[in-house]
Amino acid sequence: MKKNLSLVILVLLLAAVPFLVQGSYIVSLLLLMLVYVILTTGLNLVTGFCGQFSFAQGAFFGIGAYTAGIMSRDLHTGFWVHLPAGMIITGLCGLLLGIPALRLKGHFLAIVTIAFQTIVYLGLVQWTSFTGGQNGLPVEPVGDVSLFGAHLFTIDGLRANYWLILTATVVLVVIAERLVKSRLGREWVAVRDDEVLASAIGLNATRAKLTAFVASAAFAGAAGVLMAHYMGNIAPDDYTIWISCTIVAMMIIGGKGSFYGPILGVALLTLLPEMLGDWARYRMLFFGVLLVLAIALMPEGIAGRVRKLRATKEAQA
């Protein structure tokens, strides 16, 4: 109960930020952070909870964004079509990636996901007739929101997009929590911890892995559509292996396998570099060092370390 209350307060605070600060810097930073919360929470489902390593989250992010861009260009549809369409198409691609996962483990699975990520990136760059190549694609803002013909408001510009993305983030995080706490989420953990045992007690490991891949990809797809409509223009270089690596880092540093840990990781890795100020040039460098230190010294992440400390305290009591 206490946790739920503090989360509600946090969300309300976040919603109030545009009224509390001047200028656009902080709001746009928080907006970016929220998009990464969606991406990282999604990745945590397949990698943290189901134990299947994926370096392809950036690719799914891109597939979602380009679904919006291409449908916008060719079918003249808007955000409200793109969001479900993006999630479905990305989900199907997630299914595609899940199939090799059924037969490969550890290193090899990671390499297949990296190859997939690279193929998608190269496809976005090379298939110029379909994707516009390095020139990118324009995407209209979300625009007017009407209910039964009555115009409610217009989503255009930083603030409106920020609140839209905040709402989407909250909804998706709640969905993720429900998934993790459900029977499916427990089966994911079982498959992660011991696939042989999971099968021996009657659990369908194939179904578990595929659903995890689909869910995590769909999350990235949603993030892609939201970001596309906010940025107004998408290009392949926004969806590289380094984006995937960033998402993995946020999840690891926060603590994979914990639900809120990765969200903490996102906050840390989006906000900390900003505090570097003049040293901002060194941001990526700092980031790489942090990742190496984290995996070497604290692989369980912040959430994991906190959990360990609490367990030791309990044992001593």
């Binding site: 953990v189 911890d193 999971a198 099968s199 021996a200 007690i201 009657g202 659990l203 396998g257």
Partner: protein, 263 residues
């Protein structure tokens, strides 16, 4: 008992590269029967268990479970039909509590759908609460209810072995395969184990296939014993008869013993 056996293995063959691990083995477990599977190291006992549960695919032969041909079914489907097993090296979901370990084993018997659990519908929540209560009841039967919320890895080897048994029981299997359950247990725990296995058959009507090295356990529990040596079945029958069978003795100790004893 004139009912059909719960498990029938016919002419099972399994090869690993050039090595034949199991050669033309046939055995059966009757309903409510405790069958022992014994043999010297490397005789193919564990391989046989893995073939029965489906972790390994047989190169030849067939398995009938409850009269149904399960030879082509993957392990999870055989488990759903009512096969439970314990492992030679204890396997539990280490990151989960004892209660959660048991809950997971009951997933296949739940009535509400997975979607219901995602949506958090009352019916699903109630069912899960009921299963957790059942799990705690089962732990009481094992005199371990105080460990329900503890992480499974916190427990001692003997206790973990009991959790493995509880996990098998909670899904109400028709056949329980036990792969060297007494391994690594201290003598008092072995006694406890024997008592529990006997109660599992007597109170729950379970059929059991027991792979064991500990002869005392085999003699106390088994209605029937099958002996393997180098993948071949060399003897079958009542424990006392089998244990004294010279063929069996020779397999365990080796013929050199006899020659040297004569000299």
């Amino acid at each position: 008992m004139s009912t059909a056996p719960i498990l029938e293995a016919r002419g099972i063959h399994r090869r690993f590269g050039g090595v034949v691990a199991v050669k033309d083995v046939s055995l059966s477990v009757g309903v409510g029967e405790i069958v022992g599977l014994i043999g010297p190291n490397g005789s193919g006992k564990s391989t046989m268990v893995n073939l029965i549960t489906g972790e390994l695919e047989a190169n030849g032969g067939s398995f009938l479970f409850g009269g149904q041909d399960v030879t082509a079914l993957p392990p999870y489907k055989r488990a759903r039909l009512g096969m439970a097993r314990s492992f030679q090296m204890i396997r539990l979901f280490g990151s989960l509590s004892v209660e959660d370990n048991l809950l997971l084993a009951h997933h296949i018997r739940m009535q509400s759908s997975t979607l219901d659990t995602i949506l958090g519908r009352a019916q699903a929540v109630q069912e899960e609460d009921a299963v957790r209560a059942k799990a705690r009841e089962l732990l009481q039967w094992f005199e371990m209810e105080q460990f329900a919320k503890r992480p499974a890895t916190d427990l001692s080897i003997g206790q973990q072995r009991m959790v493995e048994l509880a996990r098998g029981l909670i899904s109400m299997p028709k056949l329980f395969l036990l792969d060297e359950p007494a391994a690594g247990l201290s003598p008092p725990n072995v006694d406890r184990l024997v008592g529990i296995i006997r109660r599992m058959r007597d109170e729950f009507g379970m059929s059991i296939l027991l792979v064991e090295h500990d002869m005392r356990v085999v003699r106390e529990l088994c209605d029937q014993v099958v002996v393997l040596d180098s993948g071949v079945m060399i003897a079958q029958g009542h424990p006392e008869a089998v244990v004294n069978d010279p063929v069996v003795v020779e397999a365990y100790i080796g013929s050199g013993w006899k020659r040297r004893a004569k000299a």
